[in-house]
Each structure stands twice: as structure tokens, then as C-alpha cells.
């Protein structure tokens, strides 16, 4: 019944604002806008799909990714990547073993440990980028980016080198359209987050650990780090009305939330827990073990400030750097009424008049990640070697899994538009268009003409595509590219490109001001 009422209200609303769209964007613009915002820009495949089913059904499909099959080639490629398929425990065991080897046999062992870490990082990033570029479940990939960033952890910090992959797989991906409370709980209990924001070490004052983890790491009292970011970034927002006292009290509530460093499993350790009474956010919390923390997460997930904070962020990400208050209010209501059901909030957002309002058309400045993925989608390049792309993201100031601070990356023009960025994007576009980036085969470190194995230590074969691909530097065909991109380019840009040397046209399209925005 609830659903039915929602539909009815939605239908009334749509019929009311329908004519506004009709007079605003053309059908092609509406399609491109949807592909720009809920996908990483148009690809030939998605243009065909949205043409076939129309904007509304395309959005509906994207909100239910489980109904969209993954192409076999992508699924196979993902299967080949051990870093995203092994359990957290196995990954930790492997890392610990590499550490032991490094101790026993420093020369070779250290080298191997380093290789292992590099491989894990590369495979994790390869999985993320290949899905972003080739998965037909585009909105799912967009939401993975959104939520990972919201609950950011930094790959470069200690054990998180081997945990980030599992974090995305187990704590983020399953919940990107689910209930916010579930997502919050999954991140709160994941070792990657417990480690990154130090809560795994936070204990009741004066706690004496019976086992020393190592000489440097001491768990012997409170650590406020996670509790503060949990309220400031993950839930209430910095102006959400909490005090320093709330931070300290929440940290006390969360003492004992840790993980077993052997298998990475979440543990609540009662001996580490502060058994005293806490006063947090107006609640009097008596000693109740892990349930105290669960209660705190319930409270934070239900708080009106959280609904507003998340709604603002979604509106800013999908609609405009400065979203209107009325849109944020509507999303906030939907968030609250649906008990934090993310799919329903997104549904409201994507069917709001603001989403397809012409004033928001092609207005957002792409983040480096969005820019990079969109160039590869539109140019239909088959990437085998992702290293040059990872290097480009680093140069552009947005290394994948490399945001050091818990606030992650911003997605606004103010954060990313700057002189150096444009020049670097154009350099990348030019190299891609000329076929000068070694994307189509893995580098050849032995000089024997055989492609490098993604994983030399383990019995994993190189990605199948490498088998018969020669090192070929094929320039992009401007005519083919033009078909996908045409609708995105203004008449001035098209005119300037038509006048230019034909060999430069593909680069000019990808490096055009029009393609910097979405």
C-alpha cells in the first residue's frame, strides 16, 4: 500500500512537471544527461540501450542492477583477479606470511612483500576501473564511487593495503542501494575502517592488553578518531549539533569494537569496553556491551541531521554543486520516511524536476576519475593494462584508493577546475587519441615478447585478451568517436574541430571544454 501511494504521488507530480522537461531538454539531451550523471558518460552500447528503452526505463533498470547481466568477458576478467576474490582472512594470512619471509630472508623477502602489495593494489584498481568502464550496471558503479568516498579509507595506511579490496566488496558494494543503517554498520565493523580510524585500538582507560601486538602499537585507553569522523563525516555532518563531549562519549561507547588481527573478523571484546555510564547526544546509555554501539548507530542513522547530510551530498553529486534547498528537503523527507532506503531516495532524486532541469545540463565539472572513465567509455578502447590510467589519476590529484583523509574526494568544480588540471587532461586526451598510451597489452619487463603475468607468484593466468594482442598503437578514429560524442559538443566546438587537422580531431573532442563537464 505504501508503495502504491508513493507511485500515485510520483505520478501526479510527474504529470505536473512533465511539460517543463518537454520544453527544456531535447530527447537526445535528456538521454545524454542521464548517461552523464548516472553512468560514466555515454558509450556506444548505452546510447543504443537508452534509445531502445527510453530514459525512464533506463533509470529504472539502473536502480535494479541485479536484473542486468554482466558481460561474460568482464565477469571472466574479474574472476582472474585474486585480490578481489580471496577472503579477508586469506589476504591477511598471505600478507603475514610475506612479512615473515621478509624478516627471515630480508633481501628476497622484502622484494616479494613489496610485489605482493603492488599486485593487490593493481588488481583492486583494475577491478574498479574495468567495472566503471565496461559494466552495464553503471549506476551501481557510480554509487560504489559515491559510498566508498563517503566512508573513505586510505589504501596507503599499514594493513589497509591488503584490506581495501575486501572493504569495497563486503562493506560497500552489497549496500549501495540498500538501507543506510546496514551500510553504516558494515563499515563500522569492517577491519579496514576499524584500522584506518584507529578504533581497533580504543579501549577503556587503563586497559592492559595481555598480548602486545607489536612494540609500537599499544591499546591502553580511549582514541577519539573514529567516533568524531563517524558523526562529522559519516552521519550527522559537521553542523549536525554534536559537541566535544558527545565525541568522547561516543568513543567510550565504541570501545572494544575491534578485529582479530589474525583473520580480520570483527570482534567485540568486553574486557576492552568501558563499562561506565555514558551521556551521548541526549541519551543516557548504561553499560550494555556491544548493544551500546548498535544503539548509537541506530540513533545516528535515524537522526534528522543525517538524513539532511546524506541528501545534500546525493543532490550535490547528481544534480548541482549548489543543490536547491527544496530538492534537499524532499530527499531528506524521503530518506526519513523510507527509514534510510537509499534506492528510494535515489528514485526520488532521479525523477525530480531538478535532475533534468536544463539549468543543470552539462554543468558539473567532472572529477578526474569521472573524466578518465568517460574518455575510455566514449572511445571504446579495450584496456588490458590499467597502469597508465592509475598514473594519470595520481597526476590529476585523485589517486584511486589514495585519498589520505577520511573526507575522501570532493566532486565540485571549485575543488577540481584549475590551470594545471586542464593541461594535464588535454595531455592525457591527446595521448589516448593518438594511441600512444600502452593500454592494450601489459608491459614487457623481460624483453622476451611475452606479456607479463598479472600474478607471477600465483597460478593465475594473464588476462585472456593479452594472448593475441600485439603492441599496437592505433589512433582513435575521429569519425567513430564523433558518432558517440556529437550530441555532447557545442556548435562552436564542432566548428573548431571541423577546421582542425583531421589527425587532431579525436584529441580535440576528448580534450574539449564540453567533455570536461557532464
Amino acid at each position: 500500500m505504501k508503495h502504491f501511494t508513493g507511485l500515485l504521488v510520483g505520478a501526479l507530480f510527474c504529470s505536473f512537471v512533465g511539460p517543463l522537461w518537454a520544453s527544456g531538454l531535447s530527447t537526445e539531451q535528456r538521454q545524454l544527461h542521464v548517461l552523464n550523471r548516472i553512468a560514466y558518460g555515454p558509450s556506444a552500447v548505452d546510447i543504443a540501450r537508452i534509445n531502445e528503452v527510453g530514459v525512464d526505463r533506463y533509470i529504472d533498470e539502473q536502480l535494479h542492477p541485479e536484473r542486468i547481466p554482466l558481460p561474460q568477458s568482464l565477469a571472466r576478467q574479474l574472476d582472474d583477479l585474486f585480490a578481489i576474490n580471496k577472503s579477508t582472512g586469506d589476504m591477511i594470512a598471505e600478507f603475514r606470511e610475506a612479512e615473515r619471509e621478509a624478516k627471515q630472508n630480508p633481501e628476497q623477502g622484502k622484494q616479494e612483500r613489496r610485489q605482493l602489495v603492488v599486485q593487490i593494489a593493481e588488481q583492486t584498481a583494475t577491478a574498479r576501473l574495468s567495472r566503471a568502464i565496461y559494466s552495464p550496471r553503471q549506476l551501481e558503479e557510480v554509487m560504489v564511487d559515491f559510498w566508498f568516498n563517503h566512508f573513505n579509507v586510505f589504501e596507503g595506511k599499514g594493513l589497509d593495503r591488503v584490506l581495501v579490496s575486501a572493504y569495497e566488496r563486503d562493506a560497500i558494494r552489497p549496500y549501495v542501494f540498500g538501507r543506510f543503517r546496514d551500510l553504516l554498520g558494515a563499515t563500522a565493523k569492517h577491519p579496514a575502517m576499524l584500522f584506518y580510524l584507529d578504533n581497533w585500538l580504543s579501549t577503556a582507560p587503563g586497559f592492559q592488553s595481555p598480548i602486545r601486538i607489536n612494540a609500537k602499537q599499544k591499546a591502553g585507553g580511549l582514541n577519539e578518531n573514529y567516533a568524531r569522523e563517524l558523526m562529522e563525516l559519516h552521519t550527522l555532518g559537521v553542523d549536525g549539533g554534536y559537541t566535544q563531549k558527545d565525541v568522547t562519549e561516543l568513543a567510550r561507547i565504541l570501545t572494544g569494537w575491534t578485529f582479530d588481527p589474525r583473520d580480520g573478523m570483527f570482534r567485540f571484546v568486553d574486557r576492552r569496553h568501558d563499562q561506565g555510564v555514558k551521556d551521548c547526544l541526549g541519551s543516557h546509555v548504561t553499560s550494555n556491551g556491544q548493544a551500546e554501539g548498535e544503539y548509537a548507530l541506530d540513533t545516528l542513522a535515524k537522526a534528522p541531521a543525517t538524513a539532511r547530510h546524506i541528501s545534500f551530498q546525493l543532490a550535490q553529486y547528481f544534480v548541482s554543486d549548489q543543490p536547491s534547498q527544496s530538492l534537499v528537503d524532499r530527499l531528506t523527507r524521503r530518506f526519513t520516511e523510507s527509514d534510510g532506503n537509499i534506492r528510494e531516495v535515489l528514485d526520488t532524486l532521479l525523477h525530480s524536476p531538478e535532475f533534468l532541469d536544463p539549468v543543470n545540463y552539462a554543468k558539473k565539472f567532472k572529477t578526474p576519475y569521472q573524466y578518465l572513465v568517460s574518455t575510455l567509455r566514449t572511445s571504446d578502447v579495450q584496456v588490458v593494462n590499467y597502469r597508465p590510467l592509475l598514473g594519470t589519476l595520481r597526476q590529476l590529484g585523485m589517486p584511486l584508493y589514495g585519498a589520505q583523509t577520511p573526507d575522501g574526494y570532493k566532486n565540485t568544480e571549485a575543488a577540481w577546475l584549475n590551470p594545471d588540471a586542464l593541461s594535464r587532461r588535454i595531455n592525457f586526451a591527446t595521448a589516448l587519441a593518438a594511441g600512444r598510451l600502452p593500454l592494450s597489452s601489459m608491459p614487457d619487463p623481460n624483453g622476451d615478447g611475452r606479456p607479463e603475468q598479472m600474478n607471477s607468484r600465483r597460478t593465475i593466468s594473464a588476462p585472456r585478451e593479452t594472448q593475441d594482442v600485439q603492441k599496437s598503437f592505433v589512433a582513435l578514429d575521429a569519425n567513430t568517436l564523433g558518432k558517440t560524442m556529437n550530441g555532447l559538443l557545442s556548435s562552436q566546438t564542432r566548428a573548431a574541430i571541423a577546421d582542425a587537422d583531421p589527425r587532431l580531431r579525436a584529441a580535440l573532442m576528448l580534450g574539449s571544454p564540453d567533455f570536461m563537464r557532464h
Binding site: E232, T430, A496
Partner: protein, 410 residues
């Protein structure tokens, strides 16, 4: 090393670094309107100032930090004595000659009047120059660009790194240049056919076209200034990554191109909630390259160092008491660092409140006894020669001056 021999060394080093084949700008005489330089280094993440300028004379310091305090001077791994009460973290030994030459000063217990312990809000306030006001559209260094006399080119204010920081954002043109090896290298846009084709796409007056045009202009300037420097660097071993190499690029740029007047760089990795370390360890590992970078800056600037003020600051300090994990949580007051030819050096400035329980801010933090804006205002006023009226545009609602504070010499 005494003061005189230090200055002699600095002079020699400066002369030795002058490019042999003069680049386009090196022969230009300094422009009197951009002669006074300012470099701001922002330590994002809240550096633990009490372990940078250590109050070893305060017994509470050792009581509240039983396992992360820096030992007294003279003890093993002890602080380097500054004035008989404060000592410098031993990882910053590279800065000792500058201290002895009175080119380095500190302001202890400085910071923002805003009570926030959010990194991101506190950094925002330090960059906008308007604590407590989030709606300020521009950064104070950008407003400074709009206020200084003389001609402003896109390289008058530069930032190192891939993003434009809040502090330099605003209506005045400013440039960011790549950190690391990318700085000053030719790009594909330097090939005339390609450059001209893209210039046509970005010829408008909109935000993006402007950024493109400013970027290209700045790139030409930076390239000609750094050409020699980069060639020299490439001949030797690969340059060390990180701040020391960026600092020497920045110094070369400021020395060779008289148009560059304001520079900014941000460094991360200071959020030491766990395993902070003492004389060695996490904090030390970040302080050492910072110290080396500042020395590279001072030496690389050569004679220009005399007309330069370098400010190092961080959004807030950390708890006086160590936390449960040999680390420190978010606090309040912190230390500001000043380096340069006209800095009132060899002194720890500011009113020291002491670390007695009843003196701590909210029972846990070093209080702020000097507003960071009064320090910056004094640099703007006494070093950059800004008038009172102009100063008010850069730091609106500036608090009453601290009468005794004198961080720039007369």
C-alpha cells in the same frame, strides 16, 4: 656555526646555484612591487605542536605524555634547546643554523578563535581567513593578490600540487604547478599545431577558458624559469621525492622569476592518533623532510631569502594528554613557524599559558593566546607593507592587535 659564517655559507650557496646560461627572467632586475615574498606552508591534519616546539621546562608536559614526550635537551634523543624553556624536535636539527642566525622564530599557543575540532572546517577557516564563517567565497591569499600594488600575472600567486587550494581560490588569477618531476616540463600543448587548436577551443571568457589561458601563460613563465634548474637536477641522481625537491623548485622559480610573489604548499600526514613516536617514529619521519625542505627553500632562494617570509601553520594542535594509543587527538592551540630575512628570529613568541590542568582549554588542550590572523596580519603589514585599510580587506573582523607581539623586525 655562528651567525656570520652561516650568512657567508648562505651567500656562497646562493651564488653557486645561479643558473649559468641565464634563463629569460634571471637577468631581470627585481620588481620593487613584488620584491617582498611570502610563502605559506600548511600542515594539513593538525601537527602536534607540543612535540615540535617542546615545553621541556614545564613538568606537566612530561606528566601528561609519559610515553611520547621528547626528552629534555642533553638527554638521549632529547630536544634541541631553543631558549632554556622550549626545545626543538630533534628531527628538525637541520633548522638549527637558521635559528642561530635569527632567521627562524615560533609563536607558541597560536591558532584560531573558532572552537571546531574538525580538520576540514578548521583548515577552511585558516584558508579563508574568516574563522567561523563558512560562506566566505575566497581565500585570504587570493584577496592579498587583489590588494598588493603592481601588476598581477597568473604566476604572482602559485601553489604546488594538482589542485587549487581554498587559500588561493577567488577572483584573482592564480596558478598551480605540478609537484614532483612534472614542474616546468614541456607538454603536448607546447607543440604549436596542437597548442593553437586547443587555444581555439578555450578562447572564451568563461571560467574554464580563463583557467586554460592562465595555465598556458603560467606554464610558459614557469618553463623558462625552471629550465636550467631542471636540467641541472636531471644530471645528478634522481631527485628525492616530496617536499625537499618541490621546495627547491619553488625556490628556483621565485628567485628566477621576479613576478612570483606569493607561494603556497600543503603537506599531509600529521594526524597522529596512534603511535606518534618520540625522537623517532611517525611524527619524526614527517618533520625531517619538512625541515630539509625549509632549508632547501632558504638556500635556494639565495639573496631573495632576505626579502621572504615563510609561514608554517596547521589547523589546530593536539591534546596535551596522550591518548590510549601513544598518540594524540584533536586539540586547539598550536605553534606557528616563521622563517625569513626580516623575521624577529631566535625567539619563541606568544604568551605561554602553561600546561596546568586549570590552564587547559576545555580541560584538555593548549589554549589559543595568539590569533593566527594577528601573526599573518603583521607579516602583511610589516613585511608586505600593506596599509591598515587594505589589511581589513584581507582579514575582516581582525581582533585587536596583541601589543607586545613583534614577529617581523622593524
Amino acid at each position: 656555526m655562528d651567525r656570520r659564517s652561516f650568512i657567508k655559507t648562505m651567500g656562497l650557496t646562493g651564488a653557486g646555484l645561479l643558473p649559468v646560461g641565464q634563463s629569460a627572467w634571471a637577468s631581470l632586475s627585481p620588481d620593487p612591487q613584488t620584491k617582498q615574498k611570502l610563502i605559506v606552508v600548511l600542515l594539513r591534519g593538525a601537527v602536534d605542536g607540543l612535540n615540535v616546539v617542546v615545553p621541556y621546562g614545564d613538568a606537566n608536559y612530561y606528566r601528561l605524555r609519559p610515553s611520547i614526550a621528547i626528552p629534555k635537551p642533553g638527554q638521549e634523543d632529547g630536544a634541541i634547546d631553543l631558549d632554556g624553556y622550549f626545545g626543538l624536535h630533534p628531527a628538525l636539527a637541520s633548522l638549527q643554523p637558521l635559528w642561530q642566525a635569527n632567521k627562524l622564530a615560533f609563536v607558541q599557543a597560536a591558532g584560531s578563535p573558532d572552537p571546531t575540532r574538525s580538520h576540514f572546517d578548521a583548515q577552511d577557516f585558516m584558508e579563508s581567513g574568516t574563522p567561523g564563517q563558512k560562506s566566505t567565497p575566497d581565500g585570504w591569499m587570493n584577496r592579498l593578490l587583489g590588494t598588493l600594488p603592481g601588476i598581477t600575472t597568473p604566476t604572482r600567486g602559485i601553489s604546488m600540487g594538482p589542485v587549487m587550494p581554498r587559500i588561493l581560490s577567488g577572483s584573482m588569477a592564480a596558478t598551480n604547478i605540478a609537484s614532483g618531476k612534472g614542474a616546468g616540463r614541456p607538454t603536448v600543448l607546447d607543440r604549436p599545431v596542437i597548442g593553437e587548436a586547443f587555444a581555439r577551443l578555450y578562447q572564451g571568457k568563461d571560467e574554464m577558458s580563463r583557467a586554460y589561458q592562465e595555465g598556458q601563460q603560467a606554464h610558459q613563465e614557469v618553463m623558462s624559469s625552471l629550465e636550467e634548474e631542471m636540467r641541472a637536477a636531471d644530471n645528478g641522481a634522481p631527485s628525492a621525492n616530496g617536499f625537499p625537491s618541490d621546495a627547491s623548485h619553488m625556490a628556483a622559480l621565485m628567485r628566477n622569476d621576479p613576478r612570483v610573489q606569493l607561494a603556497f604548499v600543503a603537506l599531509g600526514g600529521w594526524d597522529t592518533h596512534a603511535n606518534e613516536g618520540t625522537a623517532k617514529g611517525q611524527l619524526a619521519n614527517h618533520l625531517a623532510p619538512l625541515g630539509q625542505g625549509l632549508v632547501s627553500l632558504a638556500h635556494g632562494l639565495g639573496p631573495v631569502f632576505d626579502d621572504t617570509t615563510i609561514v608554517v601553520m596547521s589547523e589546530f594542535g593536539r591534546t596535551v594528554r596522550q591518548n590510549g594509543n601513544n598518540g594524540t587527538d584533536h586539540g586547539h592551540g598550536n605553534v606557528m613557524w616563521l622563517l625569513g630575512g626580516r623575521v624577529a628570529g631566535g625567539k619563541v613568541h606568544g604568551e605561554w599559558p602553561g600546561l596546568n590542568e586549570n590552564q587547559l582549554y576545555e580541560g584538555r588542550d593548549l589554549p589559543v593566546t595568539t590569533d593566527f590572523r594577528t601573526v599573518l596580519a603583521q607579516v602583511a603589514e610589516r613585511h608586505l607593507k600593506l596599509s591598515d585599510a587594505k589589511l581589513a580587506r584581507i582579514f575582516p573582523a581582525l581582533p585587536a592587535r596583541n601589543g607586545s607581539l613583534r614577529v617581523i623586525q622593524d
